[in-house]
Structure formats: C-alpha cells, structure tokens
C-alpha cells in the first residue's frame, strides 16, 4: 500500500491510480456509474474522503479507512432550519464541492465547502458537521454571493495555514475570498486588487469569482488564485492581490491553479480560451508555468493534444505534489508529468469527465 497515489473523481465514479517504477497504473474504481465531485486523502487519519452525488438520491459523503477497499456512508451535513436563500427559500445541501482536513494539531477537524455557500466543520473526525454560522451570517453574503455556472454560490477552496491552523482562507465562487484568524469565529474580506468587469463596481470589496485558490505550503502567506478575470498572486496572505495574467498569451483564463510546495515563486495553470468560449486555447492544450512569481510564463505542450482539442480542466482537476503534476479534462483525458510540467504522459483518453484530481502518499 505504501507509495504515491492519485484519486480521480469523475462523472461516473472514483478511480485510483498508483505509481510504480515511474509510471501510473490503474488501481481501483469505486462508486461505478455515480458522480464523484471531489475526493481526497486525510494523512492525519489515513482516511480517503469522497463526495458522492447520486443525482436522483442526492449528495452523500463517504469515507474509507482501508485505502478504498470498503466505504462508510456518513450522515450528510444539514443546513440549519433558519438558513435562508434569496426569496426566503430554505437552504438545502446541493453539493459537497471540496473537502479539506484541518491542521495537524487538530486531528479531528475537517472542513467541507458546499453549495449553496456553506462552510461545514466537523470536530469529531467527520462523524458530524455543523455549518459555520459567522460566515453564513456575514452581511456581504446576501448582496454579493451568487451562482455562476451553478444556481447558487459555492465554497470552492479552503486553505488551512500549515503554521497556524486557526488561520483559514476560503474562496467563494461567486463571492470572493475571506480570511479568518480565529478558526472561523470571525471573517473578513480579502479581495483588494481584484478587478471584476462583471460587477457594477469592478473594485468592489466582495462579489468576485475566484475559480480556485491555493497557497505555497512552505510559505503560506503566498496565495495564488485563478480568478474568472485573470490570475492573481498575493504575498501578504490575501490582503493585496496582484494581477499576474499574461497580457498577450494564454495564461489568463481558466479554472485550476497549482502552487509549488516549496518555492513561492512557482505555480502552474491550464489555460482555457475565455469565459465566452470555454475550450482549449486554439484547439490545443498547454500547461503554463511561472518561476518568478508571475512576472513571466512558459508554456509546455509536449505530450498534450495540439489539434481538435476542446478539453477544459475543472477547478479541482489539477494537482501537484513535490515531484508530480496531474490533471484530467472534461473530455476524459488524464495526464501526468514528472518533470515540473514540461513533458506529459497520458494515463488514458476515455475516462468520464474529470471533476477532481488529488495526489496522496502513504
């Protein structure tokens, strides 16, 4: 069981791949035929977590404590009865979009980012969850949070500062970035420098659309986000963001972004054409890397399709660890790189649409 693994959540189930002698091999499939929007591994408890969306039968949460051999269905989080949406509709769980383990010094804590707009917290290892009320009750939610590709806003990114687990940074799509320094008891906006042309006031404090946000684990004050309106970086834990999009070039629009584990100057994106034309740029896939904090970008295409390519990569479908990168596309292509994203190998071309890709090591 020891080794590197890759969890791939898809439209038709959860796949695991395993690394042997430098190549990735299919290991197992779980939840055949059922959507798995997100899956990840909690190294603290050696548990695989999977968001499982049955469509007809609703959104479920499963965990495996034996590396995928057996699964246990957990009671799904429940919105409080007084949690209301616009037009006074009651909020109900639509999607568990992201799952994030808490800090190493709080082994029982787990976070879920949901649609509509819920941050759920467990302090008993995921047996039960309660909604974070301070974020839900933040006065910015009602006027500034709204759905984009979905009917409602969702929490798509949750960052726990590895040096201080009380410091949380979350991204709401659409709503913006928020930070807490007391474990979620209070929140403040973190959107200065983002300019969203789709808002009446582009420089509004809230209402922005971070597609995905991540950080450099070795220097967690360095944040990166692939936003709807471009790529941004912050060196002060989100107080100020700098637009690092290419003015001429593909590194601008897209969904996912990966940050180097050790070097705060290095990140990768998988560009898409634009919000008006959500396809690969010029019918060809590339991965773009910056090694200077976003001042410049290099584009790598070796091993990626360069003609008749319509693939885009969803926000959770690109991941890296210290040695590898991998991403899956809406067209069911799955690629991995072992050289910093310069050359790519194909793990398969006929998978279902890929929702999430996450590495783990045992």
């Amino acid at each position: 069981m020891a080794g590197r693994h890759l969890l791939v959540g898809t439209r038709k189930g959860l796949l695991q791949f395993i690394l042997r002698d430098g190549a990735w091999y299919f290991d197992w499939l779980a939840f055949e035929g059922i959507q798995v929007p997100y899956a990840c591994f909690d190294a603290r408890s050696q548990t695989i977590w999977a968001s499982v969306d049955h469509g007809h039968w609703g959104q479920k949460l499963h965990r495996s404590k034996d590396f995928g051999k057996t699964w246990q269905e957990i009671e799904v989080p429940k919105y409080p009865e007084d949690a209301r949406l616009k037009e006074d509709k009651p909020a109900a769980l639509d999607l568990i979009w992201v799952i994030e383990p808490g800090g190493v010094d709080e082994p029982e804590r787990l976070y879920l980012g949901t649609n509509p707009g819920g941050l759920f917290v467990s302090d008993d290892g995921g047996d039960t969850f309660t909604m974070n009320a301070p974020l839900w009750n933040d006065p910015s939610r009602e006027p500034f949070w709204f759905g984009a590709g979905k009917d409602s806003p969702g929490i798509c990114s949750i960052l726990v500062n590895p040096k201080n687990a009380k410091h949380l940074t979350i991204a709401v799509s659409v709503g913006g970035v928020y930070a807490s320094f007391d474990g979620g008891l209070s929140w403040e906006g973190r959107n200065r420098g983002i300019s969203s042309e789709f808002l009446p006031d582009p420089n509004s404090e809230f209402g922005h659309d971070p597609h995905f946000m991540t950080h450099c684990p070795a220097q967690p004050e360095v944040l990166w986000q692939q936003n709807h309106v471009g790529i941004y970086r912050s060196t002060d834990a989100g107080k100020n963001w700098q637009d690092i999009s290419e003015k001429e070039g593909p590194a601008r629009f897209g969904w996912p972004i990966c940050a180097c584990e050790t070097n705060p100057e290095v990140a990768w994106v998988v560009p898409a054409q634009s919000d008006m034309s959500r396809v690969a740029v010029g019918g060809a896939l590339c991965v773009s890397r910056t090694e200077d904090g976003g001042k410049s970008w290099q584009h790598f295409r070796q091993g990626l399709p360069q003609t008749h390519c319509y693939d885009i990569v969803y926000r959770h479908a690109f991941d890296n660890d210290v040695e590898h990168l991998a991403f899956g596309s809406t067209t069911g292509n799955l690629f991995a790189s072992g050289d910093g994203g310069e050359c790519w190998s194909t793990l398969g071309n006929y998978f279902p649409p890929v929702y999430s890709v996450r590495f783990y090591q045992t």
Partner: protein, 90 residues
Amino acid sequence: MAQVAFTRNLQRFFPDLEETEVPAQTVAALIQALDQRWPKLSSYLVDDQGRLRRHVNIFVDEVIIRDRETLSDTLHADAKVFIVQALSGG
C-alpha cells in the same frame, strides 16, 4: 397499513430493501417509519430540509403526491405507495 413498493434501483444502496407495510397517516410519517427500518433511506428520498428530492417521485394509489415540500399528503388504511426515481440524467 400502507403498502409500500420501491424502485429496484434503491437496492444497490439498501440490499435488503423489500415491499413492506407501514402504519402511517401521511407520507411524511411513512418516510420516517421507513428510515427506522432502513437507516439513511430517508436521506435518499428527501433533502436535508425534508423536501422530496427533485428527481424522486412518490405515487399514492398511482397518483403523484401533491405536497413535495412537507409531504403532508394523507394515506388511507389500504394505500398503495410506490417510491421511484424520476427518469432523468445521462
């Protein structure tokens, strides 16, 4: 006692699910009673606010229930209830 039948699709998640009889006067009470026998079954039929899921149908004597929000439709003593998924998706 209401007689309850289920779509076979639910047996994937509840392998011992079978036709059953339940003493219940409303659909809401029936769902609650079913959950006692098959824990978590109700969460497959209704959302976390107790509303019938969008792609689930419940028929009482071959008629779709009217109240999908609170499941207040009443059941007479010999009601025949059929719980089924809507035909949707791909």
